[in-house]
């Protein structure tokens, strides 16, 4: 059992850190530490330019096979890259949905023509993607998708009609992957299709959702007979659920250490603030600061165990606690940040509603325990899949 990365991974770490030091500066200085979760609406044009800069230097899609422009980087190298990227203050990756979700799905399940059509623009940092899964009546119950896909035999196109919700970056994206029902008689997981849709067309309407932060990271997306070419369905009609689930499996935790580095940056800010304003002498706050520190360190070692693979088939079980763990920890950190700020936590930077980073974090972390599977859903999954407890009963209409 070893705690450290290999010497070659550490050498790779130095290479990444050096490149970031030499390039994440000048015109890009302003976007350091910006654009992460809760701040996705900020510096969009600059972050698009940064995405292309990464692409030119071969720092996008490093885990992809070389045939599609990747570096075929190992899991460890991808983890190291994400960690150094976050440590350097690399801005939130506006291309991450294409790189980590759509790209790998196409590489595994797409046709040759689809790969040629879509992969190069993701790799170069030019094409931004968004995700069309959730709907007003399909949140935790994702299979309850109502959006319809109807095939027009004559024109050889699909017409997509329905509503998606919680779509990050919809207004900045050229493409959206959409799960829609191809068989109107089917229910649940059956009769779905997985479509790649061009967002720049009359049948697509985007409406931002104003969040409790006053900013809009998420959107509602309305499809009114939006057109999708017959060539732009991944898999066959009816295989959408399998493709959609496979897509969610591709993330593989390589960005989690990068996420933890962002958490570390936030935690460090709180420690510095406590030292400045005297909160560091309050015995109860000291306990909570130490507790947050312990929690973040254990998050790292939980992740390293999962990345190391299992010695007894436990990998899946360990991995299953991750979302519940980090979202709960981060939500508590938000509360801690406000308590360290004390009475000043109530005072904003400016009118009308300019939050500072910790205030924004405090509010936005309430979303962490909801999106990507609520804490309640996570606990169901852990109990059912890891501990072998009975499944939740389903309603009558399923």
């Amino acid at each position: 059992m070893k705690l450290r990365f290999s010497a070659s991974d550490e050498a790779f770490r130095v290479e990444v850190a050096n490149w970031l030091r030499d390039n994440l500066c000048g015109e890009f200085e302003s976007i350091r530490f910006r654009g992460g979760p809760g701040d996705e609406h900020s510096f969009v044009e600059e972050r698009k330019a940064w995405e292309r800069k990464l692409g030119e230097a071969g720092w996008t899609c490093i885990g992809w096979p070389q045939a599609w422009g990747g570096r075929a980087a190992s899991i460890e190298q991808q983890v190291v890259f994400n960690e150094e990227y976050a440590r350097a203050g690399g801005p939130g990756r506006i291309g991450h949905i294409g790189e980590t979700l759509m790209g790998p799905t196409l590489i595994a399940y797409g046709s040759e023509a689809q790969k040629v059509k879509y992969l190069p623009a993701i790799r170069s940092g030019d094409a931004i993607w968004c995700q069309g899964y959730s709907e007003p009546s399909a949140g935790s119950d994702l299979a309850n998708v109502k959006t319809k896909a109807v095939f027009d035999e004559q024109a050889q196109v699909w017409h997509i009609t329905g509503q998606k919700v919680w779509t990050s970056l919809a207004h900045e994206s050229q493409y959206c992957f959409v799960v829609a029902r191809t068989d109107p008689q089917a229910k649940g997981h059956k009769g779905l299709g997985f479509f790649m849709l061009d967002m720049d067309q009359p049948g697509v309407t985007i409406r931002p959702i104003e969040q409790l932060t006053g900013t809009s990271e998420f959107n509602e997306v309305f499809f009114d007979s939006a057109v999708c070419s017959a060539d732009d369905i991944v898999g066959k009609p009816g295989e959408g659920w399998q493709v959609a689930m496979a897509l969610l499996g591709f993330e593989r935790g390589v960005s989690t250490l990068g996420q933890q580095m962002l958490f570390q940056n936030e935690f460090n800010d709180i420690v510095q603030l406590a030292k400045r304003n005297g909160a560091d002498r309050d015995p109860m706050l000291r306990q909570r600061i130490a507790e947050a520190h312990i929690g973040l360190r254990l998050m790292r070692y939980n992740t390293l165990r999962v990345l190391s693979g299992s010695d007894q088939g436990e990998l899946q079980a360990e991995g299953m606690i991750y979302k519940l763990y980090w979202s709960s920890w981060h939500r508590n950190l938000g509360k801690l940040a406000m308590d360290v700020m004390g009475a000043d936590s109530e005072i904003l930077e400016a009118e009308p509603y300019a939050l500072n980073r910790l205030q924004s974090m405090f509010l936005f972390t309430r979303a962490d325990t909801i999106y990507g599977g609520t804490n309640q859903i996570q606990r169901n999954l852990i109990a059912e899949r890891a501990l072998g407890m009975p499944r939740e009963p389903r309603g009558n209409n399923e």
């Binding site: 059992m1 312990i294 360990e318």
Partner: protein, 388 residues
């Protein structure tokens, strides 16, 4: 990334699991905890002679197995899981690190030799805190000899120890100054060993009363006259990591026996495992057990790095406090939830979950509870002290 057991470590863990699950059944634990020693002496002979576990962290050159803290943690996770009653923790996790870190060559050969033969040793560090500030034994050191007076409490397996490593304060000293560590045999004149009745009957604690206990200055750990406060702190950090291993095992087993029970228990025509309120509690317990395990393995790796000279005492102290703080609360949380999940039978003597609950409380307060370790981490992080 290889933050997982090697094949050899898996073998050590599996061997420990197979052995302890067989010898430390519920009936065996209940029988051992009523014996005067608090454990079955025949079983201890088997552990020390056949399994040779007390030799795990003793260097091969001195006749030990020469293994590391990861292997020790893997073993103690299993002893904790099955509530093994034995002086293994006292001997191999409290006494052995003290000897390894500081004893002279001659002392190593002598005292490790006695331990390898199956003698019981323990640390009398005078109190429950991780630091030496509450030491209540005075050492009057002169050229003619050393004279100890005072009381040392909470001495793990003190009743049956063949020798002790005793923490004392030299008479001239104040604060953390003058902390010194001494080898004292159990039969030494003036030493009275009083058994303390304990809430957790699976672990025995004793009080040592020193009344003009006189011996040679050569029995000073390491032989050299200097303040050993930092050394004691480091010994207790290594020990705390070992205690965490038993806590992780206990946290896991509290979950496992509770899940087994609720899958059988039927109310309103269905197993209570099918109720979401029950499932969610179990999910939280699993999160605690797994995270505590990750923290333990990290701390065990740091302990090995420290013993190899690859990291400093402060890094070890951080790791020890992280794992002890978290696993203390994880075990207590899981054992407490375990009682609730068992319902009425959870508070009976008959079911084992109450034994885990008591063990959880005992280990939580041993070598510094969670609050104390968090305060230690806060001091490292913030560099300041509490002001009230």
């Amino acid at each position: 990334m290889e933050f997982k057991f090697t094949d050899e470590q898996i073998m050590i863990r599996d061997t420990a699991e197979a052995f302890v699950s067989e010898v430390s059944t519920s009936a065996a634990v209940r029988s051992a905890m009523l014996m005067p020693a608090g454990y079955d002496a025949d079983l201890w002979r088997q552990i020390s002679a056949d399994m040779y576990w007390q030799a795990l962290p003793v260097p091969e050159a001195l006749g030990g197995l020469g293994l590391g803290y990861v292997e020790l943690a893997a073993t103690l996770e299993q002893t904790g899981r099955f509530l093994l009653c034995s002086p293994l923790m006292a001997t191999t996790a409290l006494a052995v690190p003290a000897i390894r870190l500081a004893a002279s060559d001659k002392q190593q050969a002598l005292y490790l030799g006695r331990i390898l033969e199956g003698q019981v040793a323990t640390l009398a560090h005078s109190g429950i805190k991780t630091h030496g500030s509450d030491i209540n034994v005075q050492a009057n050191v002169t050229d003619q000899g050393v004279c100890l007076n005072g009381i040392s409490r909470h001495v793990l397996n003190g009743q049956t120890a063949d020798f002790f490593i005793v923490a004392a304060k030299e008479t001239f000293a104040s604060g953390e100054q003058g902390v010194s560590l001494w080898f004292v045999d159990s039969g030494t004149e003036g030493l009275t060993i009083k058994s303390l009745p304990t809430m957790d009957q699976t672990r025995r604690l004793a009080e040592l009363q020193f009344n003009n206990v006189v011996f040679s200055p050569q029995q000073r750990l390491g032989g050299e006259a200097k303040c050993q406060a930092q050394l004691l702190s480091t010994i207790l950090d290594l020990a705390a990591i070992a205690v965490s291993a038993e806590q992780v095992g206990g946290a896991q087993q509290s979950l496992d026996i509770s899940v087994a029970y609720i899958k059988e228990r039927v109310q309103f025509g269905r197993t209570i495992a099918s109720y979401q309120a029950i499932k969610h509690k179990c999910a939280d317990m699993m999160l605690k057990a797994e995270s505590a395990r990750s923290g333990l393995y990290y701390a065990a790796c740091i302990a090995d790095e420290f013993l190899a000279g690859a990291c400093d005492a402060e890094t070890l102290a951080e790791a020890a406090s992280i794992t002890k703080a978290y696993s203390s609360e994880a075990f207590f949380f899981n054992a407490g939830c375990g009682i609730q999940l068992h319902g009425g039978v959870g508070i009976t003597s008959e079911y084992d979950i109450q034994l885990y609950f008591k063990r959880a409380k005992a280990l939580e307060s041993f070598l510094g509870n969670a609050s104390e370790h968090r305060e230690r981490l806060a001091k490292q992080l913030l560099g300041s002290e509490v002001t009230l």
